[in-house]
């Protein structure tokens, strides 16, 4: 069974540009989460989808971040326009509805904003 995959693995962009990160959850997992780790800090929750619906987006930093999960399969996280403080590693995780807190993580996307 394939695990959670994320694309790209690394992205380097300039301040003001747009970047879109993609996450493919484990097949059959209706829960999908985004987390972020800024250098030197803890991994922080961004938002949670159940299928295509946003269940909790309380961790989204501001309106420059837009997450979508059309069709309830893969998800994208767009940052527009990117700022220096957006640099970090963005993790995606997925879980089954019956056991939501057993989350399986992807390898992460390392975003660097210059």
């Amino acid at each position: 069974e394939a695990g959670v995959t994320q694309f790209p693995s690394h992205s380097v962009i300039e301040k003001g540009q747009t970047v879109t990160l993609r996450c493919d959850p484990i097949s059959g997992h209706d829960n999908l989460y985004w987390y972020r780790r800024v250098m030197g800090k803890e991994i922080k929750f961004l938002l949670h989808f159940v299928k295509e619906s946003k269940q909790d987006e309380s961790g989204m930093p501001n309106n420059r971040f837009l997450a979508e999960r059309t069709g309830g399969t893969y998800s994208t996280l767009k940052v527009q326009p990117a700022e220096l403080e957006d640099s970090g590693v963005y993790f995606c995780a997925s879980s089954q509805v019956i056991r939501p807190d057993t989350q399986y993580f992807g390898p992460g996307t390392r975003l660097t904003v210059l």
Binding site: F45, F105, G106
Partner: protein, 113 residues
């Protein structure tokens, strides 16, 4: 607000030494507790978890953790570490309020061969 505190940010040990990584959390309600590990170049993976029952839980690769409710602690232990245990370790909680994981800042463990 919920939070997780890991006592050590960086630990260096020799092979065969015993390991204990401290973790405390703050939340008044029911929690599920986790330790995750990230080996160099790999993604986060679950080391062990506590949901209920026996407060001493055993995980993969010889790790164990003990939940002490009165101390709000969930310390990770291993009696004899190996070079391959070099990794970053994260303590985490999920409350009964929602599904989001609250992580500690992580502990970087270096094992000297």
């Amino acid at each position: 607000a919920q939070s997780v505190s890991q006592h050590n940010h960086h630990v260096i040990l020799s092979e065969a030494a015993s390991l204990e990584l401290g973790c405390n959390y703050s939340y008044g309600g029911t929690v599920n507790l986790f330790w995750y590990v990230q080996y160099p170049g790999q993604h986060l993976q679950l080391l062990l978890k506590y949901f209920s029952g026996d407060p001493l839980v055993k995980g993969i690769k010889g790790f164990e953790a003990e939940f002490i409710k009165s101390k709000f602690s969930f310390n990770l232990r291993k009696p004899s570490v190996q070079w391959s245990d070099t990794a970053e370790y994260f303590c985490a909680v999920v409350s009964d309020r929602d599904d989001k994981i609250i992580f500690g800042k992580g502990t970087r463990l270096h094992i000297l061969p």
